[in-house]
């Protein structure tokens, strides 16, 4: 039988060339016996403190932590479902699809926060808004925009200042970028007007948030749209150079989600890790050094949280994706 997931995500594979790991590191427990293979879209440096905390309590477990782009993750899993035990990703839609397609194991013993889990198999453990990150120097003497409309006006007011200095995800490459873009488009027409302006001003497209923030800190970029604030603020060397703005009109907010692959043979260890992440989602505010924004800390009224429900499958539909990418390209790609 043909691999269903492969068919459905064939498009991804085609676009994304060969999916490969960006990074891979082994975290050893004090008395490691079981090796848990985690495939994650979160950079190792950011996630390391969480894993160290986990290994402290579970010294018999080793963690083989591999990092790949959220879109690549799907390809890697469909190519080799037996190669990993736990999948952590910021692309909620792709994660939900994995669970919907029966690749995730149900973990009835775990209780996520209300609204932050799906089918007892997909668990959200952070709440992270998409932010606009600005280069402080570039905005010296200017009003800092707080909504998309104000950003549009600021760009229109001085197009030559910003030309070539705008950046956002290339949604054709980044799973998280695609999720943010589609949810923005679903929420407000302003998104398309903003993208028109970005397109007119020769916006740069990035595969990954890291590069975008580097360029921003260096002053090659003035404005980065739909970047995770947590990434920008986690780097001490960039922290002073950038301003992180959570748009006041609406802030599309995603949950980083974790699932355990149904093919795993290490359910106990995997469940322990998921439990650790869920508990972190709630108690992180009391725990200095926890790198990711916890669910409990967020003010839900300000946030436009993407909910974990079958609607997420809509933009993954081949026809829908074609249409969306068509519109997106005609706005941004010149």
């Amino acid at each position: 039988m043909r691999n269903l997931a492969f068919v459905i995500f064939g498009l991804w594979a085609g676009l994304v060339h060969a999916a490969e790991l960006e990074d891979r590191r082994l975290f050893e427990g004090a008395a490691g016996q079981v090796t848990l293979r985690v495939l994650s879209s979160t950079d190792t440096d950011i996630f390391a403190p969480i894993l160290d905390g986990f290994l402290e309590r579970n010294p018999t477990i080793d963690i083989d932590y591999a990092v790949a782009g959220s879109a690549d993750i799907v390809t890697l899993i469909s190519d080799c479902p037996d190669c990993f035990d736990v999948v952590i990703s910021s692309a909620m839609d792709l994660q939900l699809k994995l669970a919907n397609d029966g690749l995730a194991r149900r973990l009835p013993g775990l209780n996520g926060a209300p609204g932050s889990q799906w089918r007892q198999s997909l668990f959200g453990f952070t709440l992270e808004p998409a932010t606009v990150v600005l280069n402080r120097e570039a905005f010296a003497g200017r009003d800092v925009p707080e909504t998309r409309q104000e950003l549009i006006e600021a760009l229109r007011a001085d197009p030559e200042h910003f030309r070539g200095k705008l950046g956002t995800y290339d949604v054709r490459l980044s799973g998280l970028g695609y999720l943010f873009a589609t949810q923005d488009a679903r929420t407000s027409e302003t998104y398309w007007r903003l993208m028109e302006v970005f397109g007119n001003l020769d916006a740069q497209l990035y595969c990954c948030s890291g590069d975008m923030i580097d360029d921003l800190a260096r002053g090659d970029l003035f404005v980065a749209y739909n970047v995770l604030g947590s990434y920008a603020s986690s780097r001490p060397e960039t922290r002073d150079k950038v301003a992180i703005i959570t748009p006041r009109d609406f802030a599309t907010t995603m949950m980083r989600t974790v699932l355990v692959l149904d093919s795993t043979t290490r359910e106990a260890a995997a469940t322990a890790l998921v439990g650790h992440l869920i508990s972190g989602a709630w108690t992180a505010q009391d725990r200095p050094g926890y790198p990711l924004p916890s669910i409990g800390a967020a003010d839900p009224s300000l946030l436009n949280v993407v909910s974990l429900e079958p609607g997420l499958l809509v933009y993954l539909d081949r026809l829908k994706r074609q249409l969306f990418l068509g519109a997106w390209s005609s706005a941004l790609v010149r």
Binding site: R2, N100, Q120, E309, P310, G311, V314, L319
Partner: protein, 452 residues
């Protein structure tokens, strides 16, 4: 009657409880089936809405199908149990998008959506499928959309409803069972009441049952009443007959006796006189027995329709003493009456008289000469009339049976008697709600006490 007696009440209760159980189970099944239908229908409606919204979003542009999937098309399929969602979009037989395995080969633009439950990806799903002709040139395009959803939420809903229905069914059953117990008890209560009231009656009470009874019991009570009437009628008849017979015997006996006495005057031959004397004694005995029978019949009759009046027991007893003193003197016996003033009671004086006379008769009969017979009337603690003598006393072993009809003691051999005296006394006492006590005196002699 043969076999174990069966209980009307148990049968009624079991029938009612059984009926309730059947109803409760029926209720459960009906609710479950209905709930299943409703739940399935509501899932079908949502699937249909999803399919329709997908088809509505489809247009043909430059010969290409363009389907701008509305977010709501899948969003509306969100359930409490987070059911999995699958779909397939196909043009003719060509698969366009979604889950390949859900597509079908024979697309057919039917009138309405088709629903089916089938296995998909290792689980049961409900599929809604709709095919539509999209206008296009040169010819219309056939677009089929299938949307499927797992049935976890449906199963959850059904489970909840089933549990509730079961709880309701059980509660209904318990309530009905309680009501069945109560109903059968209360339905059969009149039967028990009639039985109890009949059982409470005295032995001679043959009155019909006149309390109101349920319609269903009235044939039984009516035939019981008519049986009672016939019974009491035949009893009365036989008593009347006895009285009549005794009377008829006594009158000619009196005639025969007077003839015999007259003849005795006239015959001189010793052996003839001897024969006449025993004849006269036999006549006396017969007439006395007839008298006793008559008395007994009279006592029975008056006891059945007891009519009481205020009487003084002392007065009644002193009349008897007056009348029997001559007889006692003839037998060298002393007859005395003792009391502390009048003892008023409500009673039938004729009956009391009869009873006391019989007791005194016995005392006279079973006493040796020169003895004393004492009648004592007391008011406290209850009205009693005690007759004592100094004779042979009651035969100790037969004490309990002496007051039965025609029952005579061992000590009565050679004494004239019919065995009805104590019976009469006892009947009279019982007719007045009292009893007859028999015992022997320590110093010798019988003691009969009439408690009233």
């Amino acid at each position: 009657m043969t076999g174990r007696p069966w209980s009307l009440r148990r049968r009624l209760t079991l029938t009612l409880i059984g009926g309730a159980a059947v109803l409760a189970i029926l209720f459960y099944l009906v609710v479950r089936t209905y709930a299943q239908q409703i739940a399935q229908q509501s899932q079908d409606r949502i699937l249909e809405a999803s399919v329709t919204s997908l088809l509505d979003a489809a247009v043909v542009r430059d010969g290409q199908i363009e389907l701008d999937v509305p977010y709501a098309a899948f969003s509306m399929l969100d359930t409490a149990a987070d059911d999995r969602v699958f779909y397939a979009i196909q043009q003719g037989n060509e698969f366009l998008s979604g889950y390949d395995g859900l597509a079908l080969d024979d697309a057919d633009p039917g009138a309405g959506p088709i629903f089916a439950t089938r296995a998909f990806q290792g689980t049961q799903v409900r599929v809604a499928r709709l095919t539509r002709n999209l206008p296009a040139s040169p010819r219309p395009v056939l677009l089929t959309v299938s949307v499927a959803q797992t049935r976890d939420s449906l199963a959850g809903t059904l489970w909840t409803i089933s549990v509730n229905a079961a709880v309701f069914g059980a509660a209904f059953f318990l309530l009905a069972a309680g009501m069945a117990l109560w109903t059968s008890a209360s339905t059969l209560r009149p039967l028990g009441q009639i039985a109890a009231s009949v059982a409470r009656r005295g032995p001679g009470d043959l009155r019909p049952v006149i309390r109101p009874v349920p319609l269903e019991l009235s044939p039984l009570v009516a035939s019981f009443n008519s049986l009672m009437t016939r019974l009491s009628h035949s009893l009365t008849q036989s008593e009347t007959f006895i009285a009549e017979a005794a009377h008829r015997v006594r009158t000619p006996l009196a005639t025969v006796r007077s003839h015999a006495e007259a003849t005795l005057m006239r015959v001189d031959k010793d052996e003839n006189r001897q024969a006449l004397r025993s004849m006269i004694r036999a006549i006396d005995e017969s007439s006395r027995a007839a008298g006793q029978l008559l008395d007994h019949a009279m006592v029975t009759f008056r006891s059945d329709q007891l009519e009481t009046q205020d009487v003084d027991l002392v007065t009644i007893c002193s009349e008897i003493v007056d009348r029997l003193t001559p007889v006692a003197e003839m037998m060298d016996l002393e007859l005395g009456l003792q009391s502390d003033g009048p003892v008023p009671v409500r009673a039938d004086p004729i009956l009391i008289q009869n009873a006391v006379r019989n007791l005194v008769d016995n005392a006279l009969k079973y006493s040796a000469a020169e003895g004393a017979i004492q009648i004592t009337v007391t008011a406290r603690p209850s009205p009693t009339i005690t007759v004592t003598d100094q004779g042979i006393g009651f035969p100790q072993t037969e004490m309990a049976s002496l007051s039965q009809r025609f029952q005579r003691g061992d000590n009565a051999k050679g004494t004239v008697g019919s065995g009805l005296g104590l019976t009469i006394a006892k009947d009279v006492a019982e007719a007045h709600g009292g009893r007859l006590e028999l015992r022997n005196m320590e110093a010798g002699g019988a003691c009969a006490i009439l408690h009233l």
